[in-house]
Amino acid sequence: MLDIARRFRVDNISPLDITEEILQGIKQDPLNAYITVDETGARNAAKEAEEEIRQGSDNLLLGVPVAIKDNICTKGVSTTCASNILSNFVPTYDAHVVEKLKNSGVVIVGKTNMDEFAMGSTTTTSKIGPTKNPWDITKTPGGSSGGSAAAVAADLCAASLGSDTGGSIRQPASFCGITGLKPTYGSVSRFGLVAFASSLDQIGPMARSARDVAILYNAVKGYDPKDSTSVAMKYQPTSLDGLDMRGIRVGVPGAFFGEGLSTDVEKAVKDGISVFKELGAEIVDIDLAYIRYGVAVYYIVATAEASSNLARYDGVRYGLRGNNADDLIDMYIDTRSSGFNIEVKRRIMLGTYGLSAGYYDQYYRKASQVRTLIIQDFAKAFEVCDIIIGPTTPTPAFGLYEMIDDPLSLYLLDIYTIPANLTGLPALSIPCGFTKEGLPIGMQLMAPAFREDILLGAGISFQDHTRFHEKRPQWNMM
C-alpha cells in the first residue's frame, strides 16, 4: 500500500493503471479469491483518485486498490456472504467502514470469497467454491476471510478488509503470509457487517505489512452512532513508527505452546519472540488458566448468537425463497434447507439447542460465566506484561479438504485466536517464518483493549528487522 502510494507520486503511475493491472490479475486468478468484481466502481474511483493525486493530495489511501470481504455491505454491489440464500441480495446501504474507505479515496475493486456466513476456517464452504492458498494451491488459505488474505498475498489488491469472529482475519493472514488485525471490540463499527455472532464479530484490516494494516485501521476505526456497541471516545491515529521495544514486557503463555502445536510453528514463533528480546523486550511467563475452555465457550456463544442472527433469512422479504412449499412452515423449511450449507445448518442447530428451555443455564449461561473468567484472566496477565505473544494457529495451512469430515478437530484449531474475540481484546497476526515446505507461519500479538498502538508498533518494529512479510508466493508460475 505504501509502495503503491509512492509509485503514484514518485514514478507518476496512475491509479487507473494500477486498477487495470489488478482487474486483469483478477480475471486470470486461479485462486478464486473474489466473488464479485466491481470494475465500473473501481475505474470511477481510480479516476477521481488520479485527479486528487495530480492536485497534490498526500492522502496515502488515495487510489489504493482494496478488497472487501463479501459479508460487508456495499451499496449497489451484491453482498452474498458466499451463501445461496443471499445470492441475489444487493444492499441499499454501505457498511460504515465502506463509507469511510470511499471517503478516503480508496479504489474498492470487489468482494472477496469467504466461508459461508463467515462460519469456517478454510474458505471451502462458499457457494462459488473454495479459494486456494497462493503459496500452495492444494492448501487452504484459511478462513473465513480466505479470499481477503489470498488476494493480498497474490497482489490481487493492496489491502483488504476481513471480519474476525473467532480468528477469521488472523488465521488466514497467518496461512497466507500476510499481516492481519482483529481490532478491539467496539473500535470499528459493525454497521453493515452481516452478523454471525454479534458479541464477537469485528471488521479488521489485512495487508502485507503492519504499516499498511495501521494505515487501513486508522481509516476505518472510530465511533459510529449507528452501532450501539461502538465505543464513543477520541481515537488517536496509530503511529506508523515502530515501537521501541526496550522495557516492553512480552508475556508468553505456556498454554499457547502445548499439545497439538506443530514443531515448525513452535520454532518460528519462539524465534520471533527472540527477535523482540534482541530488540530489548523483557520476556515474562504468564498463566492463562481458563483459555483451555475457550473453544467450548466460543462454540456455545457464537452458535447461539448465530442461530438468532440468521433467523432473518426466511424467504419473506429478500434473498432466496423456497418455492417448493404449500404453506408457511414449508416455505421456511424449503428456503433454509436449500439456502444454507451444512456447516451453517450445523451451527444453527447447535446454537438453537444451547438456548433451548432447560439447556440455557447449562450451556449459554455457563459459557457466558466462563467467558467472564477468561476476561479476568487476561486482565490479570496484562498487569505483568504489555503484550502477549504466541502462535496464531497450531499448524500451517493444511490440505483444502483435509478436515472436511472432522469439524470438531477443525474447531479445536481456533484455540489461540478465540480468546481475543471472547475478551474483545485486539490481536495481530504477523508473518514470522516458513515451514520446511515453504508455507508461511504467523505469530499472534495481543494487547489490552484499545492498545492497537502497541500491537502495530511492535509489529512494525518486528518487520523493520525481519523480511518474512516481504516474501511473495510464486503462485503465477504454478
Binding site: 452478523a195 458479541s199 456497541t229 442461530s307 432473518r312 419473506v316 440455557y360
Partner: protein
C-alpha cells in the same frame, strides 16, 4: 358451588414517540403500507438497532406513576420465533431485569379502593401487520408498525372479577393518556389486552388451571370474553372435567372463545441477552428528571377536585376523565369561583358538544372565558338558564361571545313586571276555559300558562317572575 375468579392482565401500550424504538422511522398510524420503513425495521442484513431514549423516558414515567421500582441496569433480550410479520426472526424485548417492577395501581370497585399489583413493565418493539387477501389467497405484510415502541404492563393475578378487570383497564388507560405516552385507542390497537384466567372453589388457596385469552379488541370484548371464559371454566369443572392450559382466542362473531392451534403456541422463545445493544443504565438523575415533569395523576386530581372545589365524587370523576377537560374546568374556576355551577355546564353542554363533534376541548370554540361570561349573565339575571342553552349552542358553532349573541338576538331576559303583567293578562283573556279549570283547583295548569308566556316572549320571560305574576293574577 361458589368460585373465586383469578385474573391477571397483560397490556401492550403503543407509545406516542415520534420515531420507532430502534430506528428513525415515523410511528404514525394509517400511512400507506411499508412507507415508514427502513433497513433496520425490516431486518435487512448487517444493520443494527439504536435505542430511542424517549422510550425509556416513557417507561420510567409509567413506572413512577404505578409506584414501581425502576431498574438501574436494563438489558434487552431477543425473543426468537419465526413469523412473517417479525422481520428479524426475533423480537427485541426485555426478559430478565425489566425496566419497572413491583408496582401497583389502585382501582375503584363498588365505591371501595382495591390495589392491583403490577408485576413488571418492560420495553419492546411491535411486529408488522399481516393482511390476508382471501380473494387472491395471498398474505401481504405491512411493516409500518414493525419497531413501533411498546410498553408491556403485566399485572399480578389480583383481579377477582370482570368488573375489576374493566376498572383496572380503564384506570390504566386513563393513566397512560394522562402521562401522554399512549393514546389508549383500543380499536386501532394502540392499547391491547390479553388476560390470564382461572377459577377455583371459594376458599381454596391453590390456583386452578389457567388459560390465556387473546384477541379482545375493545373494552366490551374484554368483558364478554372474560365472562364467557369464566363460565366455560366453571362449566368444565362442574361437569367433572379438567380445564386445559391453552391459549384461547375471543371470537367476536360467535361470542365464544376458541382454542388457538397448538402449533402456534408451543414456542420455545430461546431468550438471550441482545448482543447488539448495550445495557441502559438509568441513574437517579434520570429518574428525578422524569419525576419533576410528572403531571398530577388522575386519582390525585379526582381527590383534589372533591376536597378543594367541594365537588361531588361523581362530578370529580367525570371532569378528570381527561386531563384537558380537567384543565378546562380549572381555568373556568380561576375566572369565576363557582365550581359546581361550572361543573354542571361542563358535564352537560361541553361534554355533549365534544361527544357529538370530533372536536377536542383544546379547539372547542367555547373558551373558558366565554363559558364563564355566560354563567355571569345568568347570575346577574340578564338571561335565563333556558336561553343560556341556546346561547351555548350558538357560541359552540360560531365562536362569538355570549354578550354579543345576547345583544344581537335581543335575548335579554324580560324582568319588567308591567310588561309581563300585560302579557299574562292577555293570555288569561284568551284562555277562559283553562282559567276556569285552574280556579276550580287544578293548579297543575300553571305550567300551561307559563308555557304560553314563554311562547309569547320567545323564552325571554324571567321564569321566576312569570310564575309569581301568573299565580297572583289567577287568584284575582
Amino acid at each position: 358451588m361458589e368460585y373465586d375468579v383469578i385474573i391477571g392482565l397483560e397490556v401492550h401500550a403503543q407509545l406516542l414517540t415520534e420515531t420507532k424504538i430502534f430506528c428513525s422511522c415515523s410511528t404514525i398510524f394509517g400511512d400507506k403500507p411499508n412507507t415508514n420503513t427502513c433497513p433496520v425495521c425490516i431486518g435487512m442484513p448487517g444493520v443494527l438497532p439504536v435505542l430511542n431514549k424517549k422510550v425509556v423516558d416513557f417507561g420510567i414515567k409509567l413506572g413512577l406513576a404505578t409506584n414501581c421500582h425502576i431498574s438501574k441496569t436494563n438489558i434487552f433480550a431477543r425473543k426468537n420465533y419465526f413469523y412473517p410479520d417479525l422481520p428479524k426472526g426475533y423480537q427485541i424485548t426485555q426478559y430478565e431485569n425489566p425496566l419497572c417492577e413491583h408496582g401497583f395501581l389502585d382501582i375503584n370497585v363498588d365505591n371501595t379502593v382495591k390495589r392491583i399489583g403490577i408485576t413488571r413493565i418492560h420495553m419492546e418493539e411491535d411486529a408488522g401487520k399481516l393482511i390476508h387477501d382471501l380473494k387472491s389467497h395471498r398474505s401481504l405484510i405491512d411493516f409500518n408498525r414493525a419497531g413501533v415502541p411498546l410498553l408491556e404492563i403485566v399485572s399480578e393475578p389480583d383481579i377477582r372479577s370482570t368488573a375489576e378487570a374493566y376498572s383496572y383497564l380503564m384506570e390504566l388507560r386513563q393513566l397512560l393518556v394522562y402521562l401522554e405516552i399512549c393514546d389508549g385507542n383500543m380499536e386501532q390497537g394502540s392499547f391491547r389486552c390479553d388476560a390470564n384466567v382461572s377459577v377455583r372453589p371459594k376458599g381454596s388457596v391453590s390456583f386452578g388451571i389457567r388459560t390465556e385469552l387473546k384477541n379482545m379488541n375493545s373494552f366490551r370484548h374484554v368483558q364478554r370474553a372474560l365472562d364467557y371464559e369464566i363460565n366455560r371454566h366453571i362449566g368444565i369443572i362442574e361437569s367433572g372435567g379438567n380445564v386445559l392450559p391453552e391459549t384461547m382466542l375471543w371470537d367476536a362473531v360467535s361470542n365464544t372463545t376458541q382454542p388457538m392451534r397448538t402449533k402456534e403456541e408451543s414456542h420455545d422463545y430461546r431468550y438471550f441477552p441482545e448482543p447488539d445493544l448495550i445495557p441502559v443504565v438509568v441513574d437517579d438523575a434520570w429518574i428525578e428528571e422524569i419525576e419533576k415533569r410528572l403531571p398530577e395523576l388522575p386519582r390525585d386530581k379526582r381527590a383534589r377536585f372533591v376536597n378543594v372545589y367541594g365537588l361531588p365524587e361523581y362530578d370529580a370523576e367525570v371532569l378528570t376523565q381527561s386531563r384537558s377537560v380537567a384543565d378546562y374546568f380549572e381555568q373556568c374556576v380561576s375566572l369565576l369561583n363557582s365550581p359546581k355551577e361550572i361543573s354542571n355546564w361542563i358535564m352537560t353542554e361541553v361534554l355533549r358538544v365534544l361527544k357529538e363533534g370530533s372536536e377536542d376541548i383544546k379547539t372547542l370554540k367555547v373558551t373558558p372565558e366565554m363559558l364563564v361570561s355566560m354563567i355571569r349573565l345568568i347570575n346577574d339575571g340578564t338571561i335565563s338558564g333556558k336561553i343560556a342553552k341556546d346561547i351555548f349552542e350558538e357560541m359552540a358553532t360560531t365562536g362569538r361571545s355570549p354578550e354579543l349573541i345576547v345583544k344581537e338576538k335581543g335575548l335579554v331576559q324580560i324582568t319588567d313586571e308591567d310588561i309581563l303583567k300585560d302579557i299574562v293578562r292577555e293570555i288569561i283573556e284568551n284562555n277562559p276555559k283553562e282559567v276556569d279549570v285552574y280556579k276550580k283547583g287544578k293548579v297543575q295548569l300553571l305550567g300551561f300558562f307559563v308555557g304560553q308566556v314563554m311562547n309569547a316572549t320567545k323564552g325571554k320571560a324571567n321564569p321566576r317572575l312569570t310564575n309569581k305574576i301568573i299565580r297572583e293574577m289567577l287568584k284575582q
